[in-house]
Symmetry: C2
Subunit: 552 residues, 2 copies
């Protein structure tokens, strides 16, 4: 099999562990902290997790090993969307497991949680593992989006574990997957299976973050890759001086990715979905906000710029959400047939005009025709509008164009506006992990095994102090229940890990807020360039601006 | 001004020069070669370039400097689309000029050739130059697409040169700009102005290439950036195992970029425009070719893949070109008004059906409706179809979808086909130049000054032996007229540098052809990762596979 020169070189990279893990199990002891309580809804969470609730946070330190000597057979799964570093979690887990006892075994269940149900696995060995060290992707065993959440599924998983003698399962996933890890841990505990469950925090979206998780893995590499590209595009804009680039970046529900990219590249505009929601901004207001920047720059002869648009932003515009609900109503059930039978778009438009409230019709009327038609014609199998298909980068550039035409008429604007559109998503999820993610992920996996070895169940592998060099990182574990609260999901009260949205009083947002007026008018672009794995430490090992601002 | 950590680190990079240039002018002498003749149409070219035709190729070597001692005032322009390394050409030129004589001066004319007409310039100094060393972009002085080609323009340029005492102009551009450089050189020679003109070969497209230009600058960095992203997307495809990614890459008239990316990443499919033209492939044949790969992979349970589409490919499909011509005819002049007056798309479709030949209607009929409408509704100011706006990645995925639906009906295919679309262009044109492009460009600029110092006019700065380490590169100059032939352009015979298309008997294409059947069915993806500027030499300093195959 042919591999790239970089991949070959990366095989030789030795990820950096926190100091207290560097000598392996022989030199690792446990410091127990306080008993924990959940983030909110303590009584309800406690009732749901009678066996795993209230456990103590633990920190590893140098000292005499007191863990049980027991052959460990561990299963691992990758869950959900790819994030750079997933392979290193597994490599760290494998190395810790084998160096603790060469008899230990690591099973990789394939294609996500479904692998545990289907009993579809491989048993890792050195040759296999070595091909994946410090590489991107989840192709080592594949990933998937099946959810492990029902007792029927858990019973099957318990059977599979019993069959192979599995002593612990490591679940590498996002907030939902780690929530499910906690539920599975409780199931195992309440059924006396003695199988342990450990979670590892993964997601490029950065929304699995709280006082115990400084950041999820993959966020660093993905935002560095997007920032490389945004910087390159910005430099192109500043060279050609004739295009406005509207760049949509991945992140459906939180704008951490957009914000980090903005902090790295200093674009003229960056929308933050959480701010749009908090300020109840309308599409028209957002378009005016962008048009203001276009106008002011044009007045200085700069008919070019960069606008970063978070993927999910339109879902945060209150009036737009109302419009979507009304459209779903308007076409519910058999009403869709009547609509579809109308011969021309003009007929359909008249039908829509009659069916929507005046307020929603006003919103609908300003949309570009392509998006109007998309809303009505490309619905999902349940007949619902597919908001995620809306190309919001094109939507906003079209709305801005309309605003500018009006301003030109009014005589306040006399520039040129040529928009170009981009979407950055798949380009960053499987990049070779940065040194930070390589080290962090390897440490998460290595540490996960130490939690297993010490008998913990329902814990999240926790590595903290991340803005410092790896040597100073702190390794330990936190009961997942500590991060949970009760939320309404699909009409049911569910115990879940709270999704971390961008907080408008956080230091990263405040920093952005302080500078964005200058960035909107002047050309302050910063060009981060490609991720570097070798060379000066300050170029290669520093993690995100978000974390630097949060921890300072 | 805030700059990135990488940019700061790159300022310290010292580009590598060919051995014979390393001690500067004091140690550089000239070895003259044979008199040259043009690539074709010798008599016609000779007649058009009486003063600059037939000059000798020259090579620099270590030896006694015999150049004239004269204060040099040099002007430089960047012409056309951005390519990584343009800044380094100017830095090399500046360093050579200043180290030869600190009194020498370098003028940078702004925003492309128009800067010479408008006399819009800056005079470089150390502080200014140092901010651009080893950086991407053309923002040092901007670029532009105005063409310098008329005698009226040349007369203005001569006046501007006289005003500032300019002794030479360096034009950094593609095939057209270097053609114009030759014409300007002849103008200066025939008007006894004594101003010299030197060209430098720039373009990420890779189509400015011949026996004297081993590659144009920027091609290495741009294709490495695209390959990084294609590799990342491929790894994502191989992890998620559920998407076919259709990735369009820049390159209107030649497919060098697509081919190089294919050699780097080993996708399942890569279309080569020149092959499509040579084999007179139809849209339907191309779609079948892609669908064959989808089908064979699906049969092995692999419902994912990567297809690289060169930006200009549809223009190379003979039947499609005919269709475009017919549409332009159909809507020429006042006929467009009649068409536009038709109330609905159905009416318009009927009109089209009546107006096109049967053959073209067959081609038109298989297009997705969105593209049908685009062809008729989004015409340029002259009423012509805008072929460049056609999203060929979406066109081909739609055609493949239709093919697969038919195959499903026929029972030969039973997979899932979920396409995702990408366009890679602006992401790569302004990346930080790779070490290769940093070195090559710096050498081109440094060498350009040596050609000036030795009094050459109408020469291209030539650096060769590029697949070897920089030390072994050979510096010299070639009369631009040697690369010229006569071509029909816009109804006129013009002397031009021949555009280099992908040759189907070239080693890079042959290599691709030998492997593509395997790549189409198996998963042979290679993941090049981000450009590295530090670290192992084999990761940092190697140029393209194309050049390696061409030079063995």
């Amino acid at each position: 099999m042919e591999i790239s020169l970089l991949q070959k070189a990366r095989y030789a990279y030795v990820p950096k562990l926190p100091e207290m893990l560097r000598n392996g199990i022989a030199d690792i002891s446990v410091l127990e902290g306080e008993e924990t309580t959940s983030a909110a809804d303590c009584e309800k969470i406690k009732a749901l997790f009678p066996n795993t609730y209230g456990k103590r946070e633990i920190v590893f330190q140098k000292g005499q090993n007191t863990s049980k000597t027991q052959k460990q057979i561990v299963g691992v799964i990758l869950s959900g969307g790819q994030a750079p570093g997933g392979h290193n979690v597994i490599c760290g887990l494998y190395d810790a497991l084998k160096s603790t006892n060469p008899e230990n075994e690591l099973y990789g269940f394939k294609n996500g949680p479904i692998g545990l149900i289907e009993d579809n696995y491989i048993v890792f060995n050195d040759d296999y593992i070595n091909e994946y060290r410090n590489t991107g992707g989840f192709d080592i065993i594949g990933s998937g989006r099946t959810k492990l959440e029902t007792n029927e599924q858990f019973a099957i998983v318990a059977e599979v574990c019993k069959k192979h003698g599995i002593t612990a399962i490591v679940i590498i996933g996002g907030d939902d997957s780690n929530t499910n890890a906690a539920v599975l841990a409780e199931y195992f505990a309440s059924h006396n299976t003695s199988v342990q469950v450990i979670g590892c925090p993964k997601t490029i979206d950065g929304d699995l973050k709280n006082e115990d998780i400084e950041c999820s893995f993959g966020f660093d590499t993905a935002t560095k890759t997007y920032s490389e590209l945004i910087g390159n595009i910005a430099r192109d804009a500043n060279s050609a001086k004739k295009y406005w680039h509207f760049i949509k970046v991945m992140g459906r529900s939180a704008s951490h990715v957009a914000l980090e990219c903005a902090l790295e590249t200093q674009p003229n505009i960056c929308l933050i979905s959480e701010e749009v929601a908090a300020k109840k901004m309308s599409l028209s207001q957002i378009a005016d906000y962008i048009a203001d920047s276009v106008e002011k720059r044009a007045a200085q002869g700069m008919n070019f710029g960069i606008a970063i648009i978070p993927e999910g932003v339109v879902e945060f515009v209150p009036e737009f959400s109302v419009l979507i609900q009304e459209i779903n109503e308007l076409l519910a059930g058999s009403k869709a047939d009547a609509f579809n039978a109308l011969p021309t778009w003009n007929d359909k438009y008249a039908y829509i005009e009659k069916g929507l409230t005046k307020e929603s019709m006003e919103v609908f009327a300003i949309l570009p025709q392509g998006i109007q038609q998309q809303l009505f014609l490309e619905r999902d199998p349940h007949g619902n509008v597919q908001v995620s298909l809306i190309e919001s980068e094109k939507l906003f550039s079209a709305l801005v164009k309309d605003k500018l035409a009006a301003r030109k008429q009014a005589g306040t604007y006399n520039g040129k506006f040529n928009p170009i559109h981009h979407f950055l998503g798949y380009e960053g999820r499987c990049a070779f992990p940065s040194n930070f993610d390589s080290d962090y992920c390897y440490s998460l996996g290595y540490n996960a095994f130490m939690l297993i070895q010490y008998g913990y169940n329902g814990y999240l592998s926790k590595i903290s102090n991340l803005s410092k060099p790896a040597k100073e990182w702190i390794a330990g574990g936190m009961p997942i229940t500590k991060m949970m609260n009760i939320e309404r999901r699909h009409g049911e009260d569910k115990p879940v890990i709270k999704k971390a949205l961008v907080e408008l009083d956080s230091k990263p947002f405040k920093f952005f807020e302080t500078h964005r007026e200058t960035w909107a008018v002047d050309t302050c672009f910063v060009y981060p360039g490609a991720i570097q794995y070798y060379g000066p430490v300050e170029v290669c090992d520093i993690t995100t601006k978000t974390l630097a601002l949060e921890q300072n």
